[in-house]
Amino acid sequence: MATGGYVGKILYVNLTDGRIEEIPTSKYEQWGGGHGMGSAVFFDLVKDKTIDGFDPENVVTFMTSPFSGTLTPSASGRTEVQGIGVQSYPVGWFTRANFGGRFSAELKYAGWDGIAIQGKAEKPVWINIVNGEVSIEDAVGIWGLNTHEAQQKIWSIVGGDEAENGEWRGMSTGRDSGRTTQRPAVVTIGVAGENLNRNAMLLHDSGNSAGQGGFGGVLGSKNLKAVSVVGTGSVPVADPAALMDLRMELQAGFAYNVEEPVLEAPMADFPFYGIITRSPGASTVMWKGKDHPNRPQGCIGCFRACRRRWENGVANGDGCAESTYWMMGTQDENMAATHLLDQLGLNHYDAKNYSYLLALYKMGILGPGMQIDTKLPFENYKSYAFIEAYTKAIANREDIGADLAEGFARAAEKWGRYEEDTTSGILALPNWGFSEHYDPRIEVEWSYGSILGDRDINEHGLNTHVHWAPQVQAMVKQAPLVPAEQLVNLIAEATGLEPEGWDYSPDGIYADAKIAAVAWHRHYSRFWIQSMGMCDTAWPMLVNQVSEDHKGATPEYEPRLFEAVTGTVLSYEDSLELGRKIWNLDKAIWVLQGRHRDQEVHTGYVYSVPTTAPYFLPAKVDGVWDYSTCVGRTLDREKWEGVKTRFFELEGWDPATGWPTRATLEALDLSAVADELDAAGKLGA
């Protein structure tokens, strides 16, 4: 039984009948937190797993972890969101999204380890959580607002608006309920979510979005505009001095030292290089500070602060791919386009496919009076006016936005183009309708993990070292700081697997060592990233690019942090087992939803269109390790089928179907899950 990390209860809100109840966290503590708890709570609350994501019975969970709200570095501020999604194609799988900021911490301070929301309100509402007091409030005056306005409006209601900035505010009438200077943490949907857009995201503060899954649309279908939380309670920590020591050690060894950096970028104001040095503000890869002075901005408790807040207040907190949404204008226009996405509550990663529409426009298929009839100003597609009109059209379901609000996969299907365009690759949606993120033909932990799961996995801990570090150094014509052979040996040491697990050669991506690496990646991520809320851009820390020995913090520090916070001992090996258990529970839910191995196939271009751009990854060729450009690569259909078979065997799943077997589930103490699969006739043989 943990002595720290948890605050004791999970909130259940039923919007249909207004029930507000408590679930003891202890019932779910065995799952660690975050995703594990969310999956288990979902499994118990949703009796019929085959329902659609828009069905009122769908449950959306917002889960914290024992690390939330603590000093655990790059692990304090993330909230895991789960439920049946509406974005993935052709099936809306049970899925997850995740956002940073401070919502998870505030929820813990309010005394809640998580929230489970079920049902559908009769009229638009928002949920107000002030410590232990929870109410369902009328959203009149908030519904219809953009994501920024909605939060500001709620601050003006709960406290912490402009007039009260920086004041200590009481929670209720008595001083013993505590005071805070902090604004309530609000997560909200925009008009895209209200319009049941399948690519609508959730936004918290500025730039913290739960992008994938279409949870904006799911909350919209529940008539739920926002959840606000503010709290003044404490999160117990089992061994505070140990946590403080660990934080200081990790900061000294693995954070960027802003006063005495070990290594600096070869040119000034070049955030991309921060992928290697971990410098603050590194995620805003396309935006420069010279035109707009700014500060670094971090989620609560983070020691990296990868984002920025700008002098013009535009696109605050946005980073990474969000900063690449629009790149054809001035920096001001590019930032404004991302800002607009945020305000409307749209997920960048689907909306960015306007490049596909431009291709159709140039092919004479899309345009005024064309087969795909649109009045959007494609003739001026390099202008901000275009991206503004286009983005608003999706959020408001206007013009072809009515089709695109269903997601690009469904829109292309409606237009009769899905098969052709995903085979040619002009519409690059390699798995489950999600846009290509990293090359699915080469960086296969990403593509295998995504198609074997439910979404684009979006886990950068490994990707940073195997792909980005050599890629960025190639961009600036530097020799790799960590040679390929040393890199794979370091990762092998950190993971306990073979160096060949990180061989991205044409043969390496089908080898048994690679399959073991993919399984490790799923299990590690399920526990440490998604259940313990460790940020995927920081963890696992497999390699230290800038230190002398290049040794990372993984796997030494994760279990030590877990013990310092919770007071319970969890070995690295046991943590992977717990990750495997959570992964099996998720898989069981997908199987109940209709998953079969025959569906786990990427779209056509992955198998037929060779890569052309240099894409650096370690590869072992003729016994020699090097970073390969990996040009001219496709995935082999037959070999992928073989990989699946061996992966299922490794996981203890039926190779014919990919379904978990009773023996596997029972060995993981998941007998009830096996029974439910059995009852549905979907237990692996």
Binding site: V235, V237, G281, N294
Partner: protein, 251 residues
């Protein structure tokens, strides 16, 4: 800055200058720049006023360098109470996520005022200057919970807080009393917020710093800060474009 204290403070009759007036002037906003470079002992004041020893240390903050991660708040709560609670942090970061840099964020640390209104206001002597370090701190056993100290602090938010869980006033003690930390704190030791701030936006000084209505005049941003794309000038308006750094040695 709002003067919230309406309590009557004994005046230094001989000079006609009340300690209260002096405190407001020093700690609050009555004068623009009151202590530039001077040590407190250099002030010529009547004995009745000059009764509280100066703190032997001060926290300096550079609000333009802060990343808003609030790690300082988490560290403060952790080392003093062994638990995490931003409401129990003696340094507060308040910010507007939609705000414009640099007005979007404040770092609210105790100034260890030369003439501390909080000490003055305390009817029991619970709020006192530590004999060893001069840090203004609370003797929790003597605190009766009247909150006069909380209200007396001339700053917003008050740098003295009511600890609603343990039922006593609290304020920054420069980490003198940190039972949950394996390091020696205090004016001659380490301070948790300084040790933890990943941006090094908080530093510690033994000399009383210059201050204005906006707080201390501190710029902790150097050329390395400019190199990664952040402004280094006092006003936070200019991002320098220095010469390229040397390329790392190839291996």
């Amino acid at each position: 800055m709002v003067d919230k204290d309406n309590t009557v403070v004994p005046a230094a009759e001989a000079t006609g200058l009340s300690r209260r007036e002096f405190v407001t002037g020093i700690g609050g906003t009555g004068v623009g720049l009151v202590l530039g470079g001077l040590l407190v002992k250099g002030f010529m004041l009547p004995d009745e006023v000059y009764a509280i020893p100066a703190s032997e240390g001060y926290l300096l903050v550079d609000t333009k360098k802060c990343a808003g991660c609030e790690s300082c708040m988490l560290a403060c709560s952790l080392v003093h109470y062994g638990r995490e609670n931003t409401s129990l942090a003696r340094i507060q970061i308040t910010q507007d996520p939609f705000g414009t840099f640099p007005q979007d964020l404040q770092m609210d640390q105790c100034r260890q005022c030369p003439y501390p209104a909080c000490v003055d206001a305390c009817p029991t002597g619970a709020m006192h200057a530590d004999a060893a370090t001069g840090a203004r701190m609370v003797d929790e056993r003597k605190c009766i919970g009247c909150e006069r100290c909380v209200n007396a602090c001339p700053f917003t938010p008050s740098r003295v807080q009511w600890n609603h869980e343990d039922k006593h006033a609290q304020k920054c003690d420069l980490c003198k009393d940190t039972p949950y930390w394996n390091h020696e704190g205090g004016a001659d030791g380490m301070q948790a917020c300084v040790a933890i701030c990943p941006m090094k936006a908080i530093s510690f000084t033994k000399e009383i710093p210059a201050q204005s209505e906006q707080g201390y005049q501190v710029n902790l941003r150097d050329a390395h800060w400019g190199h990664i794309g952040f402004p280094t000038d006092d006003a936070g308006k200019i991002v320098p474009q220095p010469a390229p750094a040397p390329a790392p040695a190839a291996k």
